[in-house]
Symmetry: C2
Subunit: 380 residues, 2 copies
């Protein structure tokens, strides 16, 4: 939707008021614009320019001045990032697409940013966190299934030490996921996840898993949102596993979480509708599945994508194939001291082909060791 | 996320400033709040209360005063609605959930509103608009398939008059949809839809289909958004058919459109990634499918649902089964003069069981004839 006041684009007016500010006021401007558009429809004057807009124009200019003068320009939005090439690439990209008189300006609704979760927003070693959840669920169900203690693959899940991957086939893993993720309602499952994530701790760091998110990435999410990006999770992990805590931890609401999923079935139970989680795969949001998941859920191509492994390659390809400026950023796990160091040979978060393509195509590769001042948020 | 300033909830402060205003300033407040939350994370003080907030508090109070005094309270947000029970029910509901000291207050992120499209936001008689599109596509493809002129079901599609449903079996209809909606990339299909919707006209009214949206519902969408609701389409129609124009026509961005869909496949074509539309059903977003689609895409239960037919019954059931205040609203087509009149016996938009349940459960039933001053937007 184009929005004009006396033949000037609204964003241009604001930019003219704040020429030195690199388009940053646009975050609030686009919200104000949306509000005004709504209001115009409310008042039945979607095409008109009533006196109301003359008043609004003055008020909003004042408002922007008041709001932005002391705030947005006072400090650095990415304080946990070292002042290296990665950070510069991020800031340059955001300024390019948000500056209203930039040739590469992107309207706010098209500022879609897609983030992988495991290994990109939080840790994934020594085993995926959802795998730890699955194992804990299997263990919690043993009292109801004592035979599992001796019956593989259950027995393997129960006996393998916490910090080790269980040696299972893909089929066996799927069986475990179905046992632990299906046969209950979506609400029941959400409650189980919420309870688990509130208390379960990493076997090596002793931290809550939600404390093993990456502070620089939390800042990046917030920085993008402050610049009117809509941030999405696009991850191979389970959609219903991430949603109960994504809003609290990342500021990403459930409707902006895309992940793998099982089939659901609407039923009436005692006269009340429920959604049953069936032991059947609905969608796998990994590799070739990521662009498909993006199209199904978002319906437009992201202009920025963030990942850490070969599972994100197709998402990077899809994102960067659009016209105009694009940002593809890979988190490279290079910090054995503060986190983990792994790439081409790793069984988890293998980074091989995507790394080659990043080098060939000039995508941004972040070295956690060199580019990040801190890894995890300081305890709150 | 709770947000406090000196132990007062931010929304409470604003409400205390504007006690007579029934919580309406909350639309902008919640945006300001989101902005501030983002900013707080930016500045690395997610738990703190720096001096910055004292400044912000004053500024935002001023801002709200300036912004809302002349605007939101100057006029009626639903001018095309008669002052009848339906309108009163809508306004009462919105005030109940947005008033911060209401026992039924709902935080902004949970204000999810789900709208059916066909027959709820735009007309669906004498044939679904997507059916008209399908037929036009089949006809447009005849030069490449001259044999279709005599081969059913193609021949039936080609020869039946524009204002009549083609007498086809469900299987035959599906064959036509696959022919016209698959075998091309998502981008190619989006372009075809955009071109068609810009020019195709209704056989009886001569209007563009996008001019056959309902003005009272456009106002309702805007009114809800101005009160920090997130508005979604949840419709049996094709997701890729609605997305190219939903933002322009309804203010609903593609990522908030849920509909039926075909399977997609990621491929590389001449070194560029594409998403092919396969001739295979992925999801049917109708009846029992609607709550499933809502869960898959939104991940939380709407607090308000709007529909017009039995296809919306399960969405109403799912929406109203949540705790707290709920709004279920049925658009009843009662206006043979200005639109169409149909319900229990109609082949399109049949309203029978959902009507009975609406009466039994006290859901709001809108009579288009009695409750709406105008049907379509005045020409722009």
């Amino acid at each position: 939707m184009e929005f004009e006041i006396h033949n000037l684009k609204f964003e241009t007016i604001c930019f003219r008021l704040f020429p030195k500010r690199n388009g940053k006021p646009l975050a609030i401007v686009s919200r104000a614009k949306q509000f005004i558009d709504n209001t115009r429809v409310c008042y039945g004057t979607p095409g008109g320019r009533p006196a109301f807009f003359t008043i609004m124009k003055v008020l909003i200019q004042l408002l922007l001045w008041l709001l932005f003068s002391p705030v947005l320009f006072a400090a650095d939005s990415l304080p946990s990032w070292n002042d290296t090439a990665a950070k510069k690439a991020i800031v340059a990209f955001v300024e390019r697409v948000t500056k209203p008189d930039s040739a590469d300006f992107v309207p706010a609704p098209e500022r879609i940013a897609a983030f992988d979760n495991d290994g990109t927003l939080w840790a994934e070693q020594p085993i995926y966190i959802q795998f730890a959840f699955t194992r804990d669920r299997v263990k919690a169900l043993v009292p109801q299934h004592p035979e599992w203690k001796t019956k593989p693959p259950f027995s393997k899940f129960i006996s393998t030490p916490k910090e080790e991957m269980v040696a299972v086939t893909e089929h066996e893993l799927m069986e475990m996921i179905m046992v632990s993720h299906a046969g209950m309602t979506t609400e029941e499952f959400g409650k189980i996840v919420s309870d688990w994530i509130a208390t379960a701790k990493h076997p090596q760091t002793g931290k809550l898993y939600t404390e093993m998110t990456y502070q620089p990435m939390l800042e990046l999410l917030a920085y993008l949102r402050a610049n009117s990006f809509k941030t999405f999770i696009v991850c191979g992990g389970g959609i219903e596993f991430m949603r109960p805590w994504s809003e609290k931890v990342y500021g990403i609401p459930p409707e902006q979480v895309i992940g793998s999923s099982g089939k659901l079935q609407f039923e009436m139970r005692d006269g009340k509708p429920i959604l049953m989680k069936l032991p059947e795969i609905n969608f796998v949001d990994d590799k070739e599945g990521k662009p498909v998941g993006i199209q199904q859920h978002i319906g437009r191509r992201p202009i920025a994508a963030f990942g850490n492994s070969d599972g994100d390659l197709q998402m990077f390809q899809w994102t960067t194939a659009g016209s105009g400026p694009r940002l593809a950023l890979i988190v490279h796990h290079t910090d054995a001291q503060r986190e983990w160091a792994y790439d081409r040979q790793s069984h988890i978060g293998k980074l091989d082909k995507a790394w080659d393509e990043a080098i060939a195509k000039g995508w941004t590769v972040v070295s956690m060791k060199d580019d990040w001042k801190t890894i995890y948020p300081s305890s709150r």
